[in-house]
């Protein structure tokens, strides 16, 4: 039987799944000096809270995102940017994701660099940060930039998680760029075929 669900993921803060902006404002205040903890049921490889984040993390991200502006990105090819991004996420776990989310959600970085970051969030293999990566990709489908929405939908295609179906469907329904809408629909078909595979 084929089923499509919009059920919330119990491992996720429920407000994140129903009111994404409220979630962003609760957990991603417009300041890089974070004081609020991650949702308590979020997986975190670090025992420390955000207020204890390593001080070099903010600076590392600033340098990474600035240097990324000078790179030319190619599909399917690693870049200095992608290698350093993955290293930071593997080293600092969800703290790194939160820092990246701040830059992306508040559009502090170019669409080109953000798109590359989102594609690699989908490609990288790091189970401990999975839910934050999924959330950030889903959230980025609402970006004002078509390039960022494209990076987000590609990242979700790489993750291939049917949980993203309702978000991709909503994004496709409101997508004003014809080609991008078609790309989103293509990803929907892939995700829904995965759902059929799981339920059969």
């Amino acid at each position: 039987m084929t089923t499509t669900t919009t059920e919330t993921n119990p491992r996720f803060d429920s407000s994140a799944r129903t009111d994404r902006d409220a979630f962003a404002h609760r957990y991603i205040p417009e300041s890089s000096s974070w004081t609020k903890p991650f949702p308590p049921d979020e997986p975190s490889e670090n025992a420390t809270g955000l207020h204890d984040r390593p001080p070099e993390l903010v600076e590392s991200f600033r340098c990474l995102l600035i240097s990324g502006r000078d790179e030319i990105f190619e599909d399917g090819m690693e870049s200095e940017f992608s290698k350093n991004l993955i290293d930071l996420i593997k080293k600092y776990g969800n703290d790194a994701l939160a820092e990246l989310a701040y830059f992306i959600v508040y559009e502090k970085v170019s669409a080109e660099v953000t798109g590359e970051a989102l594609r690699w969030l989908g490609l990288m293999d790091h189970p401990l940060s999975y839910h934050w990566r999924l959330w950030l990709l889903e959230r980025s489908l609402s970006s004002r930039s078509a390039r960022i929405r494209d990076g987000a939908v590609l990242g979700l295609a790489f993750l291939d998680d049917p949980d993203a179906i309702p978000y991709v469907r909503q994004a496709a329904d409101r997508e004003p760029v014809k080609e991008l809408r078609s790309d989103m629909e293509q990803v929907l078909v892939q995700l829904e075929s995965g759902l059929r595979g799981h339920s059969s």
Partner: protein
Amino acid sequence: MQDLRTDSNTISVWHIVDDHGNKDRIIAALAATRQQATNFDYFLLEEHYIREINIRIVETQGNSPDNGINSWHRDLVELSAEKLMALAKVIQQHAQIERILDKDISHFLAQAMLAGRFDAKKINLTSAVLAKIIKGIGDQQLEPT
């Protein structure tokens, strides 16, 4: 314009036959030159549009891992900034832009490997990606018919 990168005023393209019979094979070969089996974005443009803007098309041997397709390689040569702008314009107006998602690319790569079409020395896929594709082939072969 960002995607039209030239090398010595030349852009490398591939000739697709009328029935598109060589298209998937060319895509597989080009995908194998990357590190990751990710999405593959491309455009299809009728050759006459290129000739109409006075861009010269030269048959040159490709350097893909699949020797069987390298004769379909072409170079668009002597590209000035003006010609490049004109090319960008005809692509925007007349090209068919398409995307193949990573899952299908992995499938194309697996098929090409099973058929023994690749020169291993020219493949750039990382060992992790290769292992995943080979595992996929193994799983497929183990599936009951």
